[in-house]
């Protein structure tokens, strides 16, 4: 049984302090698109300087280091219970080293556990796969952006939406408008269509692991992703809600089967500080990736 504790600490440090290149490049392109001298351009300039400073100093990009969401893919025969222990230990070490702010508080009393562990905290999803190595994905999801997430049960009493691509489009546009700049725009939207209330949102969050420039395997969803990105940016909400050309850096949609009675559209809002990293651990060889 391998011990991956120190590796996971590296993964946490990388996610918290070193923004992935595809996100940084998208922020640079967004800055170039804004008119010089505007508040939107200034905000993106500040964001990019902050990203560079965090990388150089090894300090968290944002003081809200968020909920740590782990996704683990393990080969047959590796104990998930042991991996869970190691991940929790790694989270404690990363908190001591200030890669993470102590961010786990008891639901009702608000008492901080002090080390980022608690009831189902951090969140760890496991899946056994056919490869002979371990892969660990990590998403650090800040509270401000998480509060901008939404879930629609269609048809909705709130607005007319049909149980098809048009309805999905309406729901996502509505959520993006409601979020304004509050989730620290320009953000990335993960969307889950179908499933139940839990699996639909889980699918939405999993989309956030996709590279910004990828193509959806479903051609109709791929077209909708591109259309929604364009249309949300047409809303003009802009960076931090100051008004401007870029409100989202990407929209990523996943689908799953549902029961005939339900049609859920779930939207997970990720802030510009899209702290996601993936690590593969094959014997002694460790590789860090920006996305999966």
């Amino acid at each position: 049984m391998p011990d991956i504790t120190e590796r996971v600490v590296e993964l946490i440090k990388s996610a918290s302090t070193d923004l992935s290149p595809d996100i940084e490049q998208a922020l640079m392109a967004a800055k170039a698109a804004e008119a010089p001298g505007t508040a939107a351009e200034g905000a993106l300039q500040t964001i990019l300087e902050n990203v560079r400073m965090s990388r150089t100093t090894g300090r968290p990009i944002c003081q809200d280091t968020g909920t740590p969401l782990f996704y683990v893919w393990n080969p047959e025969g590796v104990s998930q219970r042991e991996l869970l222990k190691q991940i929790r230990a790694a989270v404690r070490i990363a908190t001591e080293r200030a890669y993470l702010r102590p961010n786990a508080v008891a639901a009702l009393s608000g008492k901080n556990s002090g080390d980022n562990t608690g009831i189902d905290f951090p969140t760890v999803h496991f899946e056994e796969w056919g490869h002979d190595y371990i892969q660990v994905g990590l998403l650090l999801k800040g509270g401000g952006s998480e509060n901008c997430g939404a879930q629609y049960s269609i048809p909705s009493a709130e607005f007319e939406a049909s149980r098809d691509l048009k309805g999905v489009r309406k729901a996502v546009l509505d959520a993006a408008h409601k979020a304004q700049g509050f989730g620290c725009s320009p953000g990335i939207l993960g969307v889950g269509v179908g499933g139940d209330r839990v699996t639909s949102m889980l699918k939405a969050k999993e989309q956030l692991f996709r590279p910004l420039a990828d193509t959806n395997a479903s051609s109709e969803l791929d077209a909708l992703e591109k259309q929604l990105q364009r249309e949300i940016n047409e809303l003009g909400i802009g960076p931090m809600g100051f008004g401007g050309k870029t409100t989202v850096l990407g929209v990523k949609i996943g689908e799953l089967h549902r029961v005939p009675a339900s049609f859920f559209v779930s939207i997970a809002y990720m802030c510009w500080a899209d702290r996601r990293k993936v690590m593969t651990i094959k014997e002694g060889n460790v590789a860090l990736l920006a996305a999966r």
Binding site: M53, C62, F242
Partner: protein, 205 residues
Amino acid sequence: MSTRLTIPISEKDIRALHIGDQVLLSGTIFTGRDAAHKYMVETFIKNKCPSGERALYDVLKTGLKGGVIYHCGPVVRKREDGEYQFVAAGPTTSIREEPYQAAVIEHFGLRGVIGKGGMSEKTLAACQKHGAVYLHAIGGAATLIAGSVKQVVAVHKLDFGVPEAFWQIRVEDFPCVVTMDAHGQSLHEKVAADSKRKLAALLGK
């Protein structure tokens, strides 16, 4: 492109600002969030200041006159020489202070409030009446903002906890954007209304 503001700020300089203006702020400011705002209103504004709280009241009265309060729960490190250092200091969501902010602006003669997400009608009206602005910091830019904090002058009410205490800090070129000005304008209201119109047009297609 940015306007430089130094504390104490005059009413004239505040009235010259408009929504969308970029500002670089320098001088000594105070952090204050939920516990601090509740404390100020209940201890100093609604009631007569108890003698035990007099010293802090005098510090705030002097420091906030023409000054600025920052909605922020910082990550602070105590250095080996015993001095405090700001490690990460991005803005927190301001709307939670809406019930208190107008009274604090009026009572202390604040010229600015820094935070994120904007505030509502009561604060906007207080800004117009008393000559103050809401300054939006860049959410998530925690390292950069911590870098603009040149000195921790003092900490008050540390018993509220590190994020909730009043941190009296000297900042240089703290970058923000005016999103609520002293003329009754709110960039948040404007962007929300404009984007709502565009949304209606998109859905009508």
